[in-house]
Amino acid sequence: MAFQIDNLTTMEAFNTKIPDGPLFQKWTKYKSSVRLINPANRKKIEIIVVGTGLSGASAASALGELGYRVKSFCYQDSPRRAHSVAAQGGINAAKNYRNDGDSVFRLFYDMIKGGDFRAREANVYRAAEVSNQVIDHFTALGVPFARDYGGTLDTRSFGGVQVSRTFYSKGQTGQQCLLGAYSSLNRQISRGNVIMYPRREVLDLVLVEGKARGVIARNLITGETERHGAHAVVLATGGYGTIYYLSTLAINSNASAAWKAYKKGAFFANPSFIQIHPTSIPQLNKFQSKLTLMSESLRNDGRIWVPAKKGDKRLANDIPEEERDYYLERRYPAFGNLVPRDVASRAAKERCDAGYGVGDTGLAVYLDFRDAIKARGIKTIQDRYGNLFDMYKTITGINPCEEPMRIYPAGHYTMGGLWVDYELMTNIPGLYAIGEANFSDHGANRLGASSLMQAAGDGYFILPITIGNYLVDEIKELLISTDSKEFADAEKEVIGRLEKLLMIKGKQTASSFHKRLGEIMWNYCGMIRNKKGLEKGLSLVRDLKDEFWKDLNVPGTYKELNMELEKAGRVADYLDFAQLLITDALRRNESCGAHFREEYQTSEGEALRNDEEYAYVAAWEYAGEDKEPVLHREYLKYEEVEPKVRSYK
C-alpha cells in the first residue's frame, strides 16, 4: 500500500478556474470579464513558446499579433516540419454545413462520449465552440480545404460520429493546416514580433520564486547551452507516443521538456491514456524506425475483415465473400467500420491474437476497397484517397485498388499530458501547456480529426486570451534577467547531465535501449493491460534504466552537433517517464477508452468503467528521484451530460 498518501491534498490542490454559470455561457462570460493588458504594456512582455506544431505556431503568431514579444523554439531546422504536418484525415468543426443535425453541443457531446467520460466538460465545450472560428481562420489564411462544385467547403464523416463535420485537404490536412499556421508565424517573424530559434532543444524549465521564468535550451548545431528568460513559458511540445519506439510519430518527437516541467513541480495528468491507432501499415522489417499511418478516413469506404477460418493462408482475393469475417460490422452493427479508434484497435488485436490475422507475421487485418470501387467507381475512390494509396504502394509495393491493404494498430496520440486549468495554465504559475502536450480535451480516447481542431483552438483562440489574465500582474516586472542564480543552477544541471551521458562509455546505442523500452511498453502497457503484466513491465523498465546508465555509448562531446547525445537524453527521460506511465495504468482499476484493463470488462469483452471510484483526472506530482509520485485526484463533475456506457452497437 505505497500509494495512500494523496487524499488530503486532493481538494485544495485544484483550482480549475472553471467559470460559474451554464456550460454554454462559460467561455462567453469568461471572455467578457477577463482582465486585459493595454497594447503598450504587451510590448514589454516576453513569452517563450516551445514547439512549432499546430498549437505552438498558432499560439506564437496570435501572441505576436497582440504585440507580445515572443520567442519560439523548435528542434527541427524549420518550424514547418513539426509533426502536426503528418496529420492526414481532417479537422472537425461544428459548422453544420451538411444540415445533418450537427451543433456545438453535439460536437461537444461526441468528444465527451468518445473520451469515455474522462475529460473536463467545460474545456471540451469550449473546444467545440471555437472550432468554427478555426475553420474560418484557416480558410482566410489560404488553406486549400476540399471544396464542392458550388465553391463551398466540403466535409466528410470520420470515425465515432454520425454527422459529416470533418474538413479536409485530401489526405494531408495536417500539412495544410500547419503550413497555414507557419505562414502566420512567418508574418509575425517578418514584423519582428516573434524571434525564431530553430534547431534548439529545450532541456530545462527555470523557475524564479515559484514562477516559470525561462528555459535552458541547447543549440543543436554548436552544442552550446543557452539561457532564455520570459514572463511566461508555453509548452506546445506534443505527445509522447514514441515511448513505444515504433509509433506513427516523428522519430525525434519526445517528452523531455514536459518531463522536466513535471520534475519542477508541474502535475502530469493521465499519462497512461495513449491512443493506439487502428490503421497503420504493419511492421515490415526488424530495423524499422517508425510506423506509417493510413488515415482513418479510409474506413469510410474500406471494409475491415479477416478470414473466417483460422490460419487461412489463401491470397485475399481468393477468399470468397462467405468465408470473410467483417468483424467490426458483425460486432458493432450501428457504427460498423466507423467505430472509434480504441474499439477498432482492440477488435483487430483480438482477431489476430485468436489466430485469424493475415500476412507473414499474422499481425495484420485487411482493409478492403473492392466493394467501394464497385459501387462508386475507381475515380471517386482515387480522388478521395489517391495520395494514401500511393504512399501505401510506395512502402509495401502493393496496389490497394487491386488487393486489400494490410493494417495493424500502432501507438499514435497521447490524451494524457501536463495538467492544466481552464486557462490552460499548469499548476506552476506562468507555465502553460497547449495542444497534445496538455491533457484536457480528449479524456481517455480521442476522436478522429479533433487533434488539429484542439491544437489550433488552443493556440489561436484560447491561450492568447487566457494568458493575459496572468500576465496583467506581471507587467511591473522588467525583462527577466538570465544572470540569476536560478538560471545558472539550471544550466549547470543541464550540462552536468550531458556530461554524465557522455561519460558512461559503454557498448550500446541510445536507439537500442529505446527499442527495448518500446517493446516492454507495447507488450505490458499497450492496447490491453493487466495488473500482473504492468507490474512486470515496471520492473523490466527499472532494470533497463540501470543497464542504460551502465552500458550506453555516446561518441563525441556535447559542444558540437551530436545526434547520439540528443537521442540519449530523450531515452533517459523516457526511462523515467515510463515508470510514471505504468504506475498510472496500475492505479486505474477500471477500463475506460484506450485504457483497457483485462480484469475490467463486460461478458462481451467491452470496456467496463467504474465511475463511482475513477471518474477523476489522475494528476501526478513528482516526489523526488526514485520515490513514488503523489497522486492528486481532480474529480470530474458532469452537469450537462450523464455518463453512460459507451455503446457503438
Binding site: 524549420s78 514547418r80 509533426h83 480558410t139 489564411l141 471544396r147 505562414s183 504512399m391
Partner: protein
Amino acid sequence: MHFTLKIWRQKNSLARGSFETYNLDDVSPEMSFLEMLDALNKKLVEEDKDPVAFDSDCREGICGSCGMYINGHPHGPVPAITTCHLSMRYFRDSETIWVEPWRAKPFPVIKDLIVDRSALDKIQIAGGFVSVNTGAAPEANSLPVNKEKADEAFDSSICIGCGACVAACKNASAMLFVSAKVSQFALLPQGRVEARQRVRAMIEKMDELGFGNCSNSGACEAECPKQIKLVSIARLKREYYKSY
C-alpha cells in the same frame, strides 16, 4: 543484401570534407534508405566512431527534413518520393552507392549530409502569407472558390520545402519552391489581395540570398518528390510581370 557506401563526411561548415568508404552487410530489401543508414550508424557507434549526421524526422515523406544526393539524384533514383520512402529493394545487391549532401551555395554544409536550409524560411518570411489577423476572418463559406482553382492551388501547396529542387538545379535556383507558394495564393481569392507585393518580395529575397535564375531545364520538376509542376514557374513569372 550487401552495399559499399561512399559517403560525404565533413566535420563542420569550415572543415574540408571527403568521401569515406563503408561496407554494410545484412541489409534487408524492406529497409528504407534511412533505416539502412541507421544500421550503419549503429555499427559506427558500437565501434565508438562518429556516426553519419543526416536530417530526418517524420519518416513518412511529409516533413521535408530528409534529403541527400544518392547516386547523383536528390532523394535517390526513384521519382516522386523522399529519401525516407526510398526502399532498399530499388538497389542491386553489392552495388556501390554514392551519398552526398545537397550542393548549392545558399545551403552551406553544417555536418556530413546536413545542410543549412534556413534560406528557404527567409523567402517565406519575406511574403509567403496572407495578412489576416486571428479573429478577423469572415465566415468560411462567405467566399466561394471555384473547385478547379482550389484543387490547382492544393497541387501547388503540397511542397514540403526539402530543397531538392535547388539541389537538382545547375543554377541552384529556388524558382520551383517559390512558385509553389506564389501559385497557391495566386489561385485563391484570399491570396489575390496582396499578390503583387508577395511575388516581388519573395523574388527579391530569393535573389538576395544567392539562389540562381531559372533556365528552364526542368531538373527541379524531374526530381521534386511531390511532383510540383514546371507550369507553376510559368505562373510565377506571369505574376511577377503583372506586378509591375
